[in-house]
């Protein structure tokens, strides 16, 4: 036998469940554009009889209504891990691409204002001097073009230095961001632990946790492992950065000073936790990994290539210039000067007076121009420079291509994530309608029971 009033309580459970379902739909709609929000779904559970059936204790109930089984956060941990990995690779390439494109634009190659054009102009000016060795104008032109060439090479060297400086500052900023994100993740972990112990809803905390872990991966390529209660442990190339509720500190072990200058060593990192400092093995990805590779490999390689070009130019020109004789009949002196430790940045014209240009191939004045002709053909630095530019261009091209194909992968995994976790307003509207109708129907059940009871109580025994 079921009790008369039990149907009322069944209807009440339906009212309660549908209010909850409406609240979940409302929450989803409210967060339709919230970054990192994973949609929730509510699972209904029918309420069965209580206890185990036994010979003398049996229930004849047909079910006691409905209750909220669980509110589920729609995520796939595997997809999240993939997303972290792809975003790390994406950030690694993106940061390199934007820096390399900046450096490359500064070359002005191929064009009328780059180093190649300056070399051609310099050579042309020697031809003009060979045609007119007595002319002061032609001599000044040679000095002018030489100064242009030296400053064109110097500008490129300065561009690389500036870019390296900017990127070192970026690492400093990134490292401090890593530390603040890691601290935040540790405190989120603590909150998740507390919430899961007292049975509160951890959904919002888990959203935050995923967002923070994704940012850590973008910055460093860190990997996360999940604990049973939902806390994230984060390791960086095998070294623990976040361990439950405690976060280590990422530090620059060598390579960059606290002011963003270079200390001349290879850039390396270490993580300090409460007990000790552990060096992070090389090979990070993410933004920091990208910038580190840029500063360790790509930019120094170009810089030393440019140094070699500057040195070759100066040496070849100097040798030929010293073989000639100047306007006063004296043997030629070194044409370019440079500091052997940093040739490209310090390349300068050593000759100051037009009469000191060694155009003549024979000692003792005169208007012989044999050496000027030889000067015009004395350097093979153009080929070296072309090779350098070609090598750099090829590298940038490769990074561009890698970035584009990585973008496809990243977009794909992001799409899969939004497909699973994103809120669809149409879907939420539909479930709203369902809740609304169910609520109405349950109310009607109550009204019906009420009217049945009314008949029983007020009209029993009365004959109209």
């Amino acid at each position: 036998m079921t009790s008369t009033f039990s149907t009322l309580s069944t209807a009440l459970s339906a009212l309660q469940y549908n209010s909850a379902a409406l609240a979940v739909a409302g929450g989803n709609i409210a967060n339709v554009s919230t970054a990192g929000y994973a949609r929730r779904t509510i699972n209904a559970e029918s309420v069965a009889q209580s206890g185990m059936p036994a010979m003398w204790s049996r229930s004849v109930s047909n079910g006691d209504g409905v209750k909220v089984g669980s509110v589920q956060r729609m995520v796939d941990p595997l997809l999240d891990a993939q997303a972290r990995r792809q975003h790390a690779s994406q950030a690694y390439l993106d940061v390199q691409q934007s820096s390399l494109q900046r450096v490359e634009t500064g070359f002005n190659e191929p064009g009328a204002s780059g180093v190649a054009a300056a070399i051609a102009d310099f050579r042309t000016s020697w031809h003009d001097l060979a045609n007119n060795p007595g002319s002061d104008a032609a001599r000044s032109e040679v000095l002018g073009k030489a100064a242009t060439l030296a400053s064109a090479i110097g500008t490129q060297a300065a561009n690389i230095t500036t870019e390296s400086g900017d990127q070192r500052t970026r690492i400093l900023n990134d490292v401090s961001e890593v530390n603040s994100v890691a601290t935040e993740l540790a405190s989120t972990n603590k909150a998740i632990n507390a919430a899961s112990l007292n049975g509160s809803d951890t959904g919002t905390l888990l959203d935050t946790r995923d967002q923070l872990a994704l940012r850590l991966s973008e910055l460093t390529g860190a990997t996360a492992t999940t604990r049973a209660d939902g806390e994230f442990d984060v390791t960086l190339n095998g070294v623990s950065l976040v361990d439950g509720a405690s976060a280590g500190t990422l530090q620059i072990a060598s390579g960059i000073t606290s002011t963003g200058a270079s200390d001349g060593n290879v850039i390396s990192y270490a993580i300090t936790d409460s007990s000790r400092t552990t060096a992070v093995p090389a090979g990070m990805t993410g933004e920091i990994g990208g910038v580190t590779d840029l500063l360790t490999t790509t930019l120094p390689a170009y810089s030393s290539g440019l140094d070699a070009v500057a040195q070759q130019l100066a040496d070849e020109i100097n040798t030929q210039h010293e073989a000639g004789y100047d306007a006063n009949g004296n043997a030629g002196t070194a044409f370019f000067s440079y500091d052997p430790t940093d040739p490209a940045a310090t390349l300068a014209v050593a000759i100051t007076s037009t009469s000191a240009l060694a155009a003549s191939g024979i000692p003792g004045g005169g208007l012989d121009a044999a050496n000027a002709t030889a000067m015009a053909g004395s350097t093979t630095v153009e080929a070296s420079y072309q090779q350098l530019i070609n090598g750099f261009g090829t590298h940038v091209d490769a990074v561009n291509r890698a970035t584009t194909s990585q973008q496809t992968l990243t977009t794909q995994v992001d799409t899969s994530r939004t497909a699973l976790s994103g809120v669809s307003t149409d879907e939420e509207l539909t479930s709203m309608l369902t809740s609304q109708r169910s609520y109405q129907a349950a109310s009607r059940v109550m009204t019906t029971v009420d009217s049945m009871l009314d008949t029983l109580i007020n009209h029993t025994g009365l004959v109209a």
Partner: protein, 296 residues
């Protein structure tokens, strides 16, 4: 792709990505069209960049070779004019010497007249030998002075060659050795004219006859020098022409490597524009749709 949930943010993201992609392509094409160049940075095409740099370097070289050749041509032209004038004057001197030789019994007055004309011719020939181009005597070697011969006809130039680079590794001499054209000091055409003048004044018929023979040799030397100058002038003009032809073909190559193919790029722009408009239209239609439109 397998069937999947399509969510609002997915639609927003993919629409944005599509529009961004279309816009990026449009921007790239626009940059090509406005700059007229398809090679803007080395990574656009590293191989073509190297070609472009080589071509630009060669263009600078060929332009210079052409300039060198034109300058050299002017030098040789001056030398040619000077030698023609010297040759004409020398013929006149030979005529005068023959007159002097035939007038064995003529009066000393007429011989003196011949002698003074020979002196004039000598002065005229020294002027021709001092012909300059841009302030430099074309027969004076590498002298820093403005004269190859002084007033007495003595060589004051500095032996040496003036060369012009007319092709990679090829130089051509553009001056003319005064002592080769006019004879070495002591045995030069000027010395011979002085001797002839002296012989005429002295009525020395043997001296006059010797002078005629010497002038003949001088004339041969000048003619030989003139031929040499003419040959070199031909060569330098040919080199100039070659440099200009190369310049043209190099510039054509550079244009094809560096510059955009206008009709093709404009076609691309049209296509990308259409694609962009289509993505805008599709986005505006799809994003407006919602279940809310149909619920009361």
């Amino acid at each position: 792709m397998a069937l999947q949930r399509v969510t609002d943010s997915m639609m927003v993201q993919s629409s944005l990505a599509a529009m961004q992609g279309n816009l990026a392509q449009l921007a790239a094409t626009q940059q090509q069209l406005t700059s007229g160049r398809k090679l803007n940075v080395p990574s656009d095409n590293p191989t073509d960049t190297t070609s472009a740099m080589r071509l630009r370097s060669s263009i600078a070289d060929q332009t210079q070779y052409s300039r060198n050749a034109e300058d050299g041509d002017a030098w040789l032209g001056q030398a040619d004019t000077a030698l023609t004038s010297a040759n004409d004057q020398l013929l006149r001197a030979q005529d005068l010497a023959l007159q002097g030789a035939n007038q064995g019994s003529a009066s000393q007055t007429s011989l003196d007249a011949l002698a003074s004309e020979v002196d004039q011719i000598k002065a005229g020939m020294i002027d021709a030998a001092n012909t300059t181009y841009l302030g430099r005597p074309v027969f004076g070697g590498v002298t820093a002075g403005v004269k190859a011969y002084d007033a007495s006809g003595a060589y004051v130039g500095t032996p040496g060659t003036v060369d012009r680079t007319i092709a990679p590794g090829t130089t051509l001499r553009v001056d003319t050795d005064g002592q080769a054209a006019f004879g070495p000091t002591g045995d030069s055409v000027f010395d011979h004219l002085t001797a002839l003048s002296t012989a005429l004044r002295a009525g020395d018929s043997t001296g006059i006859t010797a002078g005629i023979a010497a002038l003949k040799t001088d004339q041969n030397r000048i003619s030989a020098a003139q031929t040499d100058v003419g040959t070199r002038q031909n060569r330098i003009e040919a080199a100039d022409q070659t440099a200009q032809d190369k310049l043209l073909s190099l510039q054509t190559s550079l244009t094809s490597v560096e510059n955009v193919d206008l009709p093709k790029t404009i076609m691309n722009l049209q296509m990308q524009q259409t694609a962009y408009q289509a993505s805008l239209a599709a986005t505006s239609r799809v994003m407006q749709q919602s279940l809310l439109d149909y619920l009361r």
